[in-house]
Amino acid sequence: MVEYLAEQIDVAVIGGGHAGCEAALAAARLGCRTVLFSVQLDAIANLPCNPSIGGTAKGHLVREIDALGGEMGKVADKTLLQSRILNRGKGPAVYSLRAQIDRKAYQREMKHRLELQENLTVKQGEIIEIRLKEGKIASVMTELGAIYEAKAVVLATGTFLAGRIIIGDYSRSGGPDGFFPANELSACLKRLGVQILRFKTGTPARINRRSVDFSQLEVQEGDETITPFSFETDEPLKNTEVCHLTYTNEKTHQVIRDNLHRSPLYSGVIEGVGPRYCPSIEDKVVRFAEKERHQVFIEPMGGDTEELYVQGMSSSLPEDVQIKMLRTMAGLEKVEMMRTAYAIEYDCIDSTQLKPSLEFKEIPGLFGAGQFNGSSGYEEAAAQGLMAGINAAHYIQGKEAVVLDRSTAYIGVLIDDLVTKGTPEPYRMMTARAEYRLLLRQDNADLRLTELGHQIGLISDARYQTFLDKKAEINREVERLEALIFPPSEAVLAVLNQAGSTPITTGIRASELLRRPEISYALLEPIDPDRPQLAPAVAEQVEITVKYQGYIERQMRQAEQFLKLENRKIPDGIDYEHLHGLRLEARQKLAKIRPRSVGQASRISGVSPADITVLLIYLKSTKGGSDHGQEA
């Protein structure tokens, strides 16, 4: 093939999924000449699996992305069909935003924003080769021989890398949703010494709305007042669609059991490792045989289509079996399947090859993000894309990498897990993974991260000023509530009585009263004439800050303990081979992961507390490892 030099650029982003979009926007906004390559421009920002964004812990990620200046939340707000807060009443740490999205509208909106972005070019093309010069990134080449000289590359290939579609005994090379796969790049990465793993995921069938008997389904409405993902969205949002709920039953399970021998999962056709938390329906029926039914959500794919998504029924059974099992369920007796469910296998990497900046340890200038790194989910991908984009720009500009710690953001937890522990299966974010989740709430993502986003340069001065005003307003009101004393007056007692709360006999601080579980901030309004007019987001923040103060403070103390080991840095180039007292396994693991701190070292599987003791004693004896590290 004749090669030609197409362009000299700063950052090449390979892949236009949620990771690629955020990476490209961040790098371009930070002043880097950026090109985003996608095998098919119509695949940009696709939601090939569920038509929704957010959910437990994932909603947190979207709000953090927004607080740092990412795009996902804004586009989701603009294209949502229905929104709900999950886990209401279960504690502020676990409230989670989840929205049904018009997927075509989302794609169009995101693609358009990419096209309008200064410094960014969107280019259809399959990158088949990454070239190095003196061990560093030098250029990438498309399948047509176009060479783009680049200083940094972000790999965000999603499920396209050597993708393979499997339905029953049928299988073919392919990306998601019928797009072409990217088959060449895998071999090139292997030549560069990158360790490749093979993962699997799947998606359920799509059905025609007109073939569903809705009279038999439960309706799921959205929230009356929608909390937007983006801290910048200020116009009110509206629900335009509803979801529905049905269940599998004994008949469904019988169909599956009768046809298990035809499942590629059990016949051995599928080699990739699938996610435990997002199992196919056949997996669920086998593994949880005692469950009589499983929930199935019927979700809209868009405002201008009759296609519906059957959440909970991901499968790789043959087509005839899929139709049969769908038709066993209430409301779906005559269902018409438009797209068949499929499993997809793809190449990804062992993520412990990456630094916490998402740069490959062995290849300066090469970054990885999203499913390529072994994660699963749009939100996880976007979060990594954003950080990889920022750090690619910082790498080029000679600035220090931005790394979030586990007590600052879910993004920190996500990336730390990936680069420290690696993942044996597609990694999904969960609140359970965050040790300090009362600090990492979705409602305070802006308070945690806007400052940093502004420092990095992705948050405008105007937005930063708005943020500072909000913060000051919150503090003022919290202080006012600490000082305000309610007397045991008739009006006050009436409010308490109405809430079923113990009456007071002497004056009580407003803050103290608010800490009672049955008392809300809104409830006290009638007896609080001096209360300022506050935006709902400010009032919410005030209420949570005051109500859960004791818990928040205890969690902060736990986080401080955590940060002690986190800030005990390990100097680069420490020779674990000659560190006496480390067990062989620990020695190998430490040499491979190269943790930045003792805290990170302690999270490596195969490194025991005793090994950490050895490491600490060593650091003390060499006076290595300062107590004061930098966070971001």
């Binding site: 929930q295 359970a432 579980p517 205890r554 067990r583 507390p609």
Partner: protein, 447 residues
């Protein structure tokens, strides 16, 4: 730190039939080969692991001792390193000569507890076990030995693991419910019940601590009283019995003579203010002053009064002092006519001269000291463990308060996790990741 090959005499000092010199480290076998000549002429390098060989330790041409050598290659050894043990003839001279030979040939004298430290650092034992082994070595009585054994065997760790496990289950269940709101995960409930049970377990452990500490360190018993009430004869009478064995005279500290004895397996440090010689001036006031000091450190106070004469102002002062502590009042000299009623002060009638009431006094002493004792219970004896268990207990109480007050159950997780962490710190385990794994093993989860 964990460097080099170490050697030490591993059996107690003194005369004995045999003594063991232990060698551990990467060079253990090489060093042993330098000094050991086996009867068969075979080198240790060529000998399979876990064998006993007969031969001689030689220092150059000179034979140091005739020994049985135990060869154990790592990792199946106490330290997980290569270990060689020399069973030499007992007696300090011979044993030391063997040790010297090893050091001359490349070994280094082990620091106190270094074998155990290596076992811990090499992951052979956890922190609690290591602490148990150290206590085992230092055990003063048979009961102290048994107590340390439960720690070194990992029985104590098992107790902590068990409690931690129950807390993890609650935490995992709460988290599964919030992480998968669309799955129909049934909350099994009973969380408050489990917390109450864990609370009881932790309380028991805390209460057992005093008992455990007494068994490990010995109880401090202060013998106080005015001059001439017969403290010395009480002491003599007590120490002369078969049940109370005087193990050694520890010498004077801060003008208080302490003697170690052992009553029914409980080691006792008797702080004997009678040891203060009464020839000094200002003895009246000094007696009170010193008694006060001994009293403040004591687990139990033995106050001796003379029943044959009226109580002095001084006696009354001491009585008042003793009230503040667990105590036994001894009304001594029952062989003489009594000047006051023993019952009035709940005093124990006793005659040091005749030994009358001695058995009863010892019984009471033993009873008071083992007041909290529960047979077969796992006892805490280490102050570090006690502190962590206390922390865990406080956190469990916080979690209970949260649930009772009607706050969201998720908030209780903060304190449950703090308790898990506190217990994990005892055994040196890290715990946080264990939760997610549990979610998967216990629940059916979909998207």
């Amino acid at each position: 730190m964990n460097e080099g090959t170490i050697a030490a005499i591993s059996t107690p000092q003194g005369l004995g039939g045999i003594a063991i010199v232990r060698l551990s480290g990467p060079e253990a076998i090489t060093i042993a080969d330098r000094v050991f000549v086996s009867a068969t002429g075979k080198k240790l390098q060529e000998t399979p692991t876990h064998r006993v060989l007969y031969g001689h330790v030689k220092n150059g041409e000179e034979t140091v001792d005739e020994v049985l050598l135990v060869l154990m290659r790592g990792p199946k050894t106490f330290t997980r390193e290569d270990v060689v043990e020399f069973n030499c003839h007992g007696g300090p001279v011979v044993t030391k000569a063997v040790l010297k030979t090893l050091i001359a040939n490349g070994a280094r004298l082990a620091e106190p507890g270094e074998f155990t430290k290596r076992a811990f650092l090499n992951g052979r034992i956890d922190l609690t076990q290591a602490e148990g082994i150290i206590d085992l070595i230092n055990a003063k009585t048979d009961r102290a030995r048994k107590l340390a054994q439960t720690a070194s065997d990992g029985e104590l760790s098992q107790e902590f693991f068990g409690i931690r496990d129950r807390l993890l289950s609650i935490s995992a269940e709460l988290l599964a419910v919030v992480d998968f709101p669309e799955e129909e995960i049934e909350e099994t409930g009973g969380m408050e019940q489990v917390l109450a049970e864990v609370h009881q377990q932790l309380t028991d452990l805390c209460e057992g601590y005093e008992q455990g500490r007494l068994i490990r360190d010995g109880a401090k018993v202060a013998l106080i009283g005015c001059p001439n009430v017969g403290k010395s004869s009480v002491l003599k009478c007590l120490t002369r019995t078969e049940r109370a064995i005087v193990t050694e005279i520890a010498g004077t500290t801060r003008d208080v003579l302490t003697e170690d004895l052992n009553v029914d397996g409980i080691p006792i440090q008797l702080m004997d203010t009678a040891g203060i010689r009464e020839s000094e001036d200002r003895i009246e006031s000094l007696g009170v002053e010193r008694s006060r000091q001994a009293l403040s450190e004591a687990d139990l106070v033995l106050l001796v009064l003379d029943r044959s004469r009226s109580l002095t102002e001084e006696d009354q002062k001491l009585l008042a002092l003793a009230q503040a502590r667990p105590h036994i009042v001894i009304a001594n000299k029952t062989d003489l006519p009594s000047a006051w009623q023993a019952e009035k002060y709940q005093a124990f009638s006793f005659c040091a001269k005749t030994g009358e009431g001695r058995a009863e006094l010892l019984n009471q002493l033993s009873e008071k000291l083992s007041g909290l004792h529960r047979e077969n219970a796992v006892l805490l004896s280490n102050v570090r463990h006690f502190e962590q268990v206390t922390r865990a207990l406080a956190s469990v109480e916080q979690a209970q308060t949260t649930l009772q007050s009607g706050m969201e159950a998720d908030l209780a997780v903060i304190d449950i996790n703090a308790a898990i962490e506190a217990l994990g710190e005892i055994t040196g385990e890290t715990v946080s990741e264990a939760v997610t794994d549990r979610i998967f093993s216990q629940f059916c989860l979909g998207k």
